[in-house]
Amino acid sequence: MKDERVLDQDNTTNSWADFLGFQFDPFKHLNASDDPHLGEYIVDLEKFIGAWESHPALIFAPAGGGKTTMRIYTYRTCWVGRDGLHPFPIQYYLPLINDHINWVDSLEKDLERAAAYALLLSLSFRPGRLKNVAAHVQEKVASFLSQSFGKNALLFYLSVLEQAMDPTVLAEQIDRAYTLPDTPSPDSVKDFCTTLSSYITKEGTKQKVSIEEIVDQIKNLVIGELKFDCIYLLIDGIDGFADSVNEPQKASEQINRFLEKTKDWAKKGIYIKIFLPEETEPLIKSNWWKSHIHWSLDSLAKVIKQRISVASGGKFGSLNGVSGPGLRNDYIEYILAQNVIPLPREIIFATQQLFKAYERRSNGVGKIETEDLDIALEKYREDIKRRHISLPNPVYST
């Protein structure tokens, strides 16, 4: 009976990575939000410069084509290695479980809550941003959070931070997409909690406000008081719902309603960056800046090469650096790219199979050989066959 090694995505020790002298396994995570190194190996960034400029943007990509990766990267880019004036990113998730059929019907509540989570989680990772503002601003932040979450929920979140002394624990509870590298010291986290708690005295009365009032409140707090440059509202996941995934028409109607309602927000410094399935593009009525995530052989090969480079600390620039004589003259990334569905997750999956085949065969001796590549591609083909997917133009050559 065949018994395969566990395809364990959470295995903390990766033998092949150790064998080949890598600092970590850059192919461990298929989900972008799980990868702490994501920001280090995003490819073709120059195409998406517009996504990080101060204007609204529509970014289109195929299913599995990297929308979430770009969204998370955009979030982290705003924070990592930047002090002072930079955009404040808010990750906005479209409502799933509520009674509203139209997303815009719950926009006030959803936007307020999204901004509150962004403030709480982002500032917990960078507590200095709260510490260095005036007391009245700190009070306004606390008041906003309390108004949005409710006093008790906010106190609970602060208790989690205080007890865990690590904002990663809170981010894992609420939204791991807010996880940032370089966690702050336990003392600074404690100070953060103490500061906010001191302003939470009573339950605020929630008044019904309009979406424009919410937008102004957020703008005044984040840009006016906390002195961020502007706000990026990062919207993703439109094709993650059962009732819109196969119906781009339906999804597009929702998006167009949303764009209509938010069309003037840019004037207030709130720039919406919305990551959309490419099927919706013909149906979206907007003249916003647009970009398309498209995966060519070159860009797919880069997905692998950059990961190899980062994980090896620059020692290797491609798979050839870790290949034996049988493969040394072949452009392995291109062979993989030619033989997978043209999406980054697919080539990462195929590369996972390559390293697993290497690990099983070699047990740490030698490097990647032709038979490992053969097995990897065979495993990949078996897998997509199981999924009843046809490879557009299967090619296999070494």
Partner: protein
């Protein structure tokens, strides 16, 4: 057959062959399919398996494997899918409600079974656990606490009721997205030292028969909701009847690799191993081989023909043989006559799936019938409560007439010599394919001299 009570009890274990009724001993005899360890990994997955392929046994084995890992067990919950006649959004809501209720039940039970886990956890974990149970337990959580307190009475559980009854703050709004609630459950589990949550989804066969389309719709709605598959600490393992495979593989999350796909298939070698292991365990023998029952080659061929590729099929077929063997004074392999006698006494049943137009004997599919022969067999099967004449077969089965013309004066009447031979040839061909010995038919029986046939041993 006379079998001792002990042995009868043991043989009864071959009767049920429903994993959910087989108890703890299943773990001792379970043979892992290919890729078992991969299936047991930390990714959500769907396993497609045919009838009797062992989906439930696999689910139980995966649960057992998870529960016995050195680095701790996950929180295992079960969800029995049902056909939900709602919009996809509501389907997901119903699913979430049921899953979260199951999580709340398991958290309560876990807290009492391992009281130190909750007592020694951080205060926020205790509070979050209390909040979660009070919010998502669909029954009366206070009553359940009382019950558990009584069941697990002891000094170690002192204080648990108070911890779980505490007035907790409302941690998440009631209309929070499913992704957020799932993250919260995972965090609580992690805080209690539990290795995530595993949701096992099984038991869809009933719905496949009753309302297949609605079940497909329900499952597609779930599989298309990516938020359900993005939390690493929350993993769904779903066992699905193979009939649903084609429809489900069009779900969006398939292309995104949010979940792995496996097919539950068994080779003849594996099925032989399953039979030998189970028989050996049942008969208290350290090693039991198929040759101990009957000629290996013959028996394997017979099992492949009538057992198909299904563990249940092989075990059901083997049961009467084992029972007979154990009833003998001296336990020896069966002779050819004995084997034949048992077969004729307990033949595998013939069944036709009229929707899919497939013919089975036991669990083995019959594929060699010519179209005309198949047509006749189908007709006889639909009339299996009575006998069929040759006229029935010609006029009704072949010509599609509602009634048989009585004479040459009637429309559609055709002289007997023009069709009688083809009917006889078709019946001959049917017997050649389906009967183990066409000269001694088990299934298609002719009433000699009367020109009529009927089917025996059918489902």
């Amino acid at each position: 057959m006379v079998v001792s009570p002990k042995k009868q009890q043991l043989l009864n274990a071959f009767d049920s062959l429903r994993a959910e009724h087989e108890g703890e001993w299943l773990n001792d005899v379970y043979i892992r399919p290919d890729n078992f360890l991969s299936m047991a990994g930390t990714r959500s997955l769907v396993v497609f398996g045919g009838e009797g392929s062992g989906k439930t046994a696999l689910r139980i084995a995966l649960q057992h494997h998870s529960a016995n890992q050195e680095d701790g067990a996950p929180l295992g919950i079960r969800w029995h899918p049902m056909a939900i006649h709602e919009e996809p959004r509501q389907i997901v809501q119903v699913f979430m409600k049921q899953m979260l209720d199951a999580c709340a039940q398991e958290l309560l039970y876990y807290s009492y079974k391992y009281p130190k886990a909750l007592k020694n956890s951080m205060p926020w974990v205790q509070e979050a656990t209390a909040w979660f149970v009070q919010t998502f337990f669909s029954g009366d959580w206070k009553f359940e606490l009382e019950r558990l307190n009584t069941e697990f009475q002891g000094s170690e559980t002192d204080g648990l009721q108070a911890l779980l009854s505490q007035n907790s703050r409302s941690i998440l709004p009631s209309d929070s997205p499913s992704a957020r609630i799932i993250s919260q459950v995972s965090s609580i589990a992690k805080g209690l030292g539990i290795r995530g949550v595993r949701a096992y989804v099984d038991g869809m066969e009933t719905w496949v028969d009753q309302d297949k389309e609605a079940l497909i719709y329900t499952l597609k709605a779930l599989l298309s909701t990516l938020a359900l598959f993005e939390e690493p600490g929350f993993i769904i393992k779903m066992m699905v009847p193979r009939q649903l495979e084609e429809d489900l593989l069009s779900a969006n999350s398939m292309i995104r690799r949010r979940w792995e796909i496996y097919e539950l298939n068994w080779s003849s070698e594996q099925l032989t191993h399953i039979l030998e292991t189970r028989a050996g365990r049942m008969l208290d023998k350290a090693s039991y081989k198929i040759k101990d029952l009957y000629s290996t080659k013959e028996l394997q061929k017979w099992l492949q023909t009538y057992g198909g590729t299904s563990p249940r099929g092989w075990l059901e077929l083997a049961h009467p043989l084992l029972e007979f063997q154990q009833s003998k004074k001296e336990i020896l392999p069966l002779s050819q006559k004995e084997f034949s006698d048992v077969f004729y006494k307990y033949p595998p049943k013939l069944r036709i799936d009229l929707n899919l137009d497939k013919i089975y004997i036991g669990y083995g599919e019959i594929t060699d019938l010519q179209p005309l022969a198949k047509k006749f067999l189908r007709y006889i099967y639909t009339q299996r409560n009575r006998t069929c004449s040759r006229e029935d077969l010609y006029y009704k089965a072949h010509e599609g007439l509602a009634t048989i013309p009585k004479s040459a004066k009637d429309d559609n009447w055709v002289g007997r010599p023009q069709w009688e031979k083809s009917i006889d040839t078709a019946l001959y061909r049917i017997r050649q394919v389906i009967e183990p010995n066409p000269k001694i038919p088990v299934y298609l029986i002719s009433d000699t001299g009367k020109g009529i046939v009927h089917l025996n041993n059918t489902w």
